[in-house]
Symmetry: C2
Subunit: 127 residues, 2 copies
DNA sequence: CGACTATTTCAATGATCGTTGAATCATGGG
DNA sequence: CCCATGATTCAACGATCATTGAAATAGTCG
């Protein structure tokens, strides 16, 4: 490799797969929502004061790091969330506008349903 | 058995389990919705002209009888549908009012979402 | 560089899933 | 009473799931 290239900060990190919103199927979305931990991640994310500022590490009360990573992947691959890397930290957010365009009204009722139910664990995310 | 008893028509058949609507958990509902055949059953049922008049046998285009029975059970055990026996036939219906009370607004957006999507198979049910 | 932190990946586990086809059960009609 | 019909149950299968703990990776900072 040429010497000059190293000066450019790559800042890429391994890119995680996000499906095109048009390719997302209803059955896969519901399957991704069919787990209490993932519903907990979703409502906690929805109730986070600042959008796109929730660190993955903020969810450790819900499960172990490796299990969280597994559930993050499920939500991401179902087109519900987006994972963004910044240095050594990853931020998680809901794909609100896209998802609303693809499935109008659905995410709101899902979140409202999960929010209302005591069986769904939730945490307070401090940004 | 006494002779007179036989005149009374039993009309019971094996009772299938239906959960109390209060015991139904959001994660289990979404898990039940996480399959294209079950979404197909749900929208076909929702689009049936006459309520509570859909025979189980009307869904045979969606899957084999035994597979249908399996999917019917999933929907029923998740509190979404009700199965009613009448003679040798079974009728399937959506637990609309109860479900609406338990999870306001949810079923409508789910059905609308499934209805809009071409990946969800659907049939016309002639009552 | 080397330690440190945040997160993902891997390997392994038992459990549940979706599917098939054969067997069973319940009911109504000859 | 036997047979046909509508539907569920059972046994089996390979696939995927949720979970665990250990190992790998990526970036930061001394």
């Amino acid at each position: 490799m040429s010497g000059a290239a190293e000066a450019i900060k790559p800042e890429v990190m391994k890119q995680l797969f996000h499906p095109e919103i048009e390719d997302v199927l209803p059955a896969d979305v519901f399957a991704a929502l069919g787990d209490p931990i993932r519903l907990g991640i979703l409502v906690s994310l929805a109730d986070c004061d600042e959008v796109d500022k929730a660190r993955c590490g903020a969810f450790t009360e819900l499960a172990s790091p490796s299990l969280l990573s597994y559930h993050f992947a499920k939500l991401r691959e179902a087109g519900i969330t987006r994972s963004r890397a910044e240095g050594t930290v990853r931020f998680l957010s809901i794909r609100r506008e896209e998802f609303e365009r693809r499935f109008p009204g659905l995410l709101d009722s899902v979140i409202e349903t999960a929010r209302r139910d005591p069986s769904v664990p939730r945490i307070k995310i401090d940004v």
